[in-house]
């Protein structure tokens, strides 16, 4: 039962208010018609599914109805940060494994 910081409501809310929406930062190909069948299949169906740090999209469905991003460890379920659409994560698999960044995250959603 996660306690999730909504970067728009600027407070922690209970998991029941949110819906997970899969992997974050999956941009639709700009020119779909020029995208190969394989690449289109990848866009539709193929995901990172990492065991570890994952950037995912959530929506504060029963709340402000905004979509936002969550960086979460899929092994421990620790939420490392949350950040708005259009922003880039400050915590990544690389930053975690090299031990940098996490603490310097300045985005609104860093879990206290």
């Amino acid at each position: 039962m996660f306690y999730i910081y909504c970067p728009y409501c600027a407070e922690y809310r209970e998991e029941e208010e949110f819906h997970p929406k899969g992997q974050a930062h999956i941009a639709r190909p700009l020119d779909p018609m020029a995208t190969s069948d394989d690449a289109w299949g990848d866009y539709l169906f193929f995901r990172d599914n990492p065991r570890g740090v994952h950037h995912e999209l959530w929506v504060h469905a029963v709340g402000c109805r905004k979509f936002f991003n969550v960086t979460r460890d899929t092994r421990t379920y620790a939420i490392l940060e949350t950040y708005r659409i259009g922003e880039q994560p400050s915590v990544t698999a690389d930053s975690v494994s090299t031990g940098s960044a996490a603490s310097t995250a300045t985005l609104t959603g860093v879990q206290a």
């Binding site: 039962m1 996660f2 306690y3 209970e14 819906h19 929406k21 941009a27 639709r28 190909p29 020119d31 779909p32 018609m33 995208t35 069948d37 289109w40 299949g41 866009y43 539709l44 999209l57 929506v59 469905a61 109805r65 905004k66 979509f67 460890d73 421990t76 379920y77 620790a78 939420i79 659409i85 259009g86 206290a112």
Partner: protein, 1026 residues
Amino acid sequence: MSELQQRRVAAGAGLGLEIDRDRPLAFTFNGKAYQGYAGDTLASALLANGVDVVNRSFKYSRPRGVVAAGAEEPNAIVQLGASEATQTPNVRATQQALYEGLTARSTNGWPDAQRDMMSLIGKVGGPFMPVGFYYKTFKAPASMWLTYEKMIRKAAGLGRAPSEGDPDIYDHVHRHCDVLVIGSGPTGLFAALTAAKSGARVILCDEQERFGGSARDSDETLDGVPAPHWVAQIVERLAAMDNVTLLVRTTANGYFDHNFVTLHERRTEHLGDSAAMTGGRRQARSRLHRVRARHVVLATGAHERPLVYAGNDVPGNLLAGAVSSWIRRQAVRPGERLVLSTTNDTAYRAALDWQAAGGEVVAIADARANPEGAMVERARAAGMRIIAGSAVIEATTDRKGHRVNGARVAAVDIAGHRIDGSIETLVCDTVASSGGYSPVVHLAAHTGVRPVWRDDILGFVPGQTVAPVKGFHPVGAAAGVYSLGMAFDAIAEHLPAALAADGIALAPSAPPQLETLAQGEAVGLYHVPHDKPTMRAPKQFVDLQNDVTAAAIELATIEGFESIEHVKRYTAMGFGTDQGKLGNINGMAIAARCLGQTIPETGTTVFRPNYTPVNFGAIVGRHCGELFDPERYTAMHQWHVEQGAAFEDVGQWKRPWYYPRQKASGERETMHEAVARECRAVREQVGVLDASTLGKIDIQGPDAREFLGRIYTNGWEKLAVGKARYGLMCKDDGMVMDDGVTTCLADNHFLMTTTTGGAAAILEWLEIWHQTEWPELEVYFTSVTDHWATMTLTGPEARNLLSELTDIDLDREAFKFMEWREGTVAGVPARIYRISFTGELSFEINVQANYAMPVWEALFAHGDQYGLTPYGTETMHVLRAEKGFIIVGQDTDGSMTPEDLGMQWCVGYNKPYPWIGKRALTRSDTRREDRKQLVGLKPLDAEVVLEEGAQIVLDPKQAIPMRMVGHVTSSYYSPTLDHGFALAVVKGGHKRLGERVYLPMADGVTHVAEVVSSIFFDPKGQRQNL
């Protein structure tokens, strides 16, 4: 009757701190009447009355009695309940407070636990039922397994479920706090007080009937007063603080992510069978507190470990600490002559208390070569015989196995796992044992944290927490700190700092003062050796509830089950309702020895919620019965109810399905009759449908039109203000996901309608594309589903009727098909859409929902002369199907493209923006010619209504498995066509028009149908343009 309480120590000895001898309570067990006192548990009351055999064991049907005083009890599992509806299976007698009229039975044993017939099987068959025997037998013949299985099932199980519904209610409370303290022993109380003084929100819970934990019956002095008094003082102080919530009889059962903890508060289970009404109001029998805590203090103490020796399951074998608890709390001394077998000092208290309660201490077998320490000295001073370096290797019993009658004591070589020297048999009726303590780490483990073994305390403690578990503080015995003074110091030192780091400022609290006793070091003994090898010795039980013996564990390892998880699953160790609270560590230690490993190498199995079992009702709370799931109503709902409508569940909505009328004969119409009548009314006169449940989304903004063009498959560029258009929506895989009519209200303003079931999902769909992919588009979406009540007036007389009520010019030229107008209907401002889902002349009237009823009633007030008939979803389905209009979710299943549906006319191939779904339509699979395509089916026999879901074949003569080419998606009898007809999807169907297909049915009949156009009625669409 109180003379029956033969094991109750007389008043005057200062024992029985918690019972009220002035409040006797009558209860029955296995049909026999007994008496106990207020303050008893069912277990202490049974012991007081000398009831030794409380149950029969699971596999061998051996007599079993109470062994423990708390949540760890494996044996005394009873069926509670005085009536059928209040039958409660598998209640731990040790955690059930006694109340007047309590009615309990053993869960196993026939005819009862005393004289059980199954025990014969246990005795005779026992040797042939080693662990895992069922995997090795009952295989032949295969057909017999179900029969064998029935027998096995009958013999298994504990209590039984009631056959009537639960008379009680349960509820939930959502709580948030700064500090949740689980366990109210001395450490929990001190931690709670420390935190509470800061003003922080504190919750303190304890599973027991009272606060205090081990301090309830401790003989220590805290801050200068006896421990039980100290408890009372602290509780009183806490109760006076408005930032503290005290929850007694409340078990923390699950510790979930990010410090979410479930607490189950038993509110009335100590009072009676069923929760009584208070002042005419229902009270919840129990309450689930769903707690989100910033910090969790785990002060759950430690469970004493019994020793594993032969015959250790016979009634009269008890946990040492439990013996003390009963004597001190309830003045119950459960026997006459005690032999204590221990590995540590603490257990000596049982012997001292036994003696103080007037019992005889025959001997103390201490596994340590040189027991020393304050408690040992006290025992010596009291004249007790201490046999050093020894242990009870076997408890002997009377012939029936109903009670211990002796203890065989021998010197034990722990390292060599053998006995040394001769065996002495002592006459006794009670063997109390203590093999040390296991910190209650269960909750910590729920979050995925593995316990860590500590050699110094011979137990597992909570492991280092991983990231998501922040603010987690094990303290006291739960943390493996068995010296209370050290535990207090640790709390005083670390808790303020931990909370301060989270902004909760604490004033330092002085740890309570106490006198510490010198303790001798304990030894680790888990499985007491016997003079015979384990496999040949009398049974030495590890898991009493599941009848798992040391031999079973050894056999499992012999058979190659080397992981402790395999051992668990092969032997069922720890699978019981007690989840191995007593036996697991011993079992792991035995497995470790058999495998030549250390205990930490062997590791623990995983502790999971619940800490103790919780009834389903308590977890369900009020989400049952009429509150199980919301029923959504339209503004006209009451009217439909009054008209006797039958309802259909569509999502959470209740929609009128059809309106059966009273026939002249006095009978109610069947659905078929009602629907035929409603259909004819629409086709011939006029009908009205409550269409309010359709999803409605208000879309405003300069880019609304562009947005629609990207989301829908068809074009919106040219839709003029005042006009409406049907649209299809696909996912990006090209499959149809929703449809509906969208109207251009003004240049920057559209109203989208969605399917009833799809409304919420479509709004979210629009938002996700807008927020994540096209934030630059200036457009906003707002749900107006509930705001508008919608009435579809349809049929040739629709215009005539409506014109009586509206100021809008309804002339066919002034207000064309697929247009909308604003005006009033029956004096109520309305928007009217000329759209049609029936194929008839239709006006969809929308008014603000608070004003729906006057309009609806006005329609009926004027409708008689036109034959106005209300119709439901079934008629709506027939009418739309006659027109070949699809229902997404019925005629589609997530695998149909617009082209499969024959709706190329609704696909804007040349739209500039690559709209959602477009790319997928050119993938190889979506281009296949033999895809399933939507067609009409006309059964050759006009009377036949094909079954929805019937499968279609081309060759009815082929053998099974048949090649199926599609199925019927919608099928009805058309009163208009006087013919059954259907919509279906058929492979390559669009090219099969005129062909015959076959539908072989379960009853052996094969229907024949012709593939036809999916439009059965008014193919040119003239009627809606009237």
